[in-house]
Symmetry: C2
Subunit: 199 residues, 2 copies
DNA sequence: TCATATTGAGAACGTACGTTCTCGATCAAT
DNA sequence: ATTGATCGAGAACGTACGTTCTCAATATGA
């Protein structure tokens, strides 16, 4: 048996490739990045790339899945540092604000990918939906103990802030969503909780 | 002077072309639609298309601008039918809900275009920002007379509803945003308006 | 050392797209 | 009727991309 690639090497390659893909796809848009660009950035021969992922689309989906796990893990870690349940809800928007302020922030990677490739790549639509469902569940678990009637509104405030911050490159959208969340929490806590249930 | 194209014909061509572009770009994504597809759909020779718009990018921008005018005009027309200022705020979400329920709804065309081409086409980023600024101004004019402290929150609820409805193809996001808006209006009207001002 | 399977680097392939060009047909002015 | 500018239909051009293939170099087992 001559020169074979170890499992450990595959794992390193995979990480380098996904790192490069995540960075380039997010910064430039997915279709604007070619497989040769990924090869240069990851420092991997094309042959290894295609052994790790059979198509570009599979690589995109894997990149979105890994990013989803890290994104939600980072959020959960931040929320875990805030003991008070009500303050913890507001901390969601502090974390979002820090994300928005990162250099190169360009909105939600899943929304961008869905807008770009959703119509032609169902697997990418599903990745975006899966991420949004998971984020929604996170917000639900966060808000339900404090003000269950405000859960959906606070989730929509977060989604709205992400979009607005992404398009205008305006991190302050997080503070505005945070203020709205405070108003909703106050309202729910003052016996007017029923106000968010009707149609 | 032999066979010249009249100004009136140019106007008809322009409309047919923008109609085709708006439909195809929105349904399939911009980069997935080629100039030949537009030629077939609009029934125009390529030469006329390139006389109307020098590049595909110019056509995209013109399409977004026309859509912006129509979209905001339709919204304004709907809001004008509601006399009560508070009900008029809620009517925003009824109109959004009807939009979400249209067959083929696929989220915000400007967010999609920005996600797809923003990094490589500054003119498209600017078109998206311009539309969002104008929509924000519309919401501000709508909410300010009723509950100025809730303006930003209600705007973010609307943006959040559009994204969520687009990704999950779930028109009910409008009803959830509407419920949140009602809670915010109630809170602002009950002497707790200051709650949405702090940070 | 020799044989062999596998690798890396990149050329090659097929396709698709944005844009321009060709060319016979068409129509207004004379 | 003749001329000549302009048109429509689509071929052509140049480029770029996703994917596959070539082939010399390499490293391993006998």
């Amino acid at each position: 048996m001559p020169a074979a690639i170890t499992e450990e090497q595959q794992s390193l390659d995979r990480r380098a490739l996904l790192d490069a893909a995540e960075d380039l796809f997010y910064r430039q848009g997915i279709q604007a990045v070619g497989m040769d660009d990924l090869r240069s950035a990851a420092g991997l021969p094309l042959k290894r790339i295609y052994r790790l992922f059979p198509t570009k689309e599979a690589l995109i989906v894997a990149m979105l899945e890994r990013r989803d796990l890290r994104w939600r893990g980072d959020l959960a870690a931040h929320l875990d540092t805030v003991p008070d349940p009500r303050e913890r809800v507001l901390a969601l928007f502090d974390w979002l604000g820090a994300w928005f302020a990162e250099p190169g922030f360009r909105g939600c990677a899943w929304v961008n990918a869905h807008g770009e490739l959703g119509p032609t790549a169902p697997a990418i639509t599903e990745a975006a939906r899966s991420h949004k469902r998971a984020f929604h569940a996170q917000v639900t678990a966060l808000v339900n103990p404090v003000a269950p009637s405000a859960t959906e509104s606070i989730y929509l405030l977060a989604e709205g802030a992400i979009v607005v911050a992404g398009i205008h490159n305006d991190p302050a959208a997080a503070a505005r969503a945070r203020a709205g969340t405070r108003a909703l929490l106050d309202a729910a806590g003052s016996g007017r909780a029923g106000a968010a249930a009707g149609g």
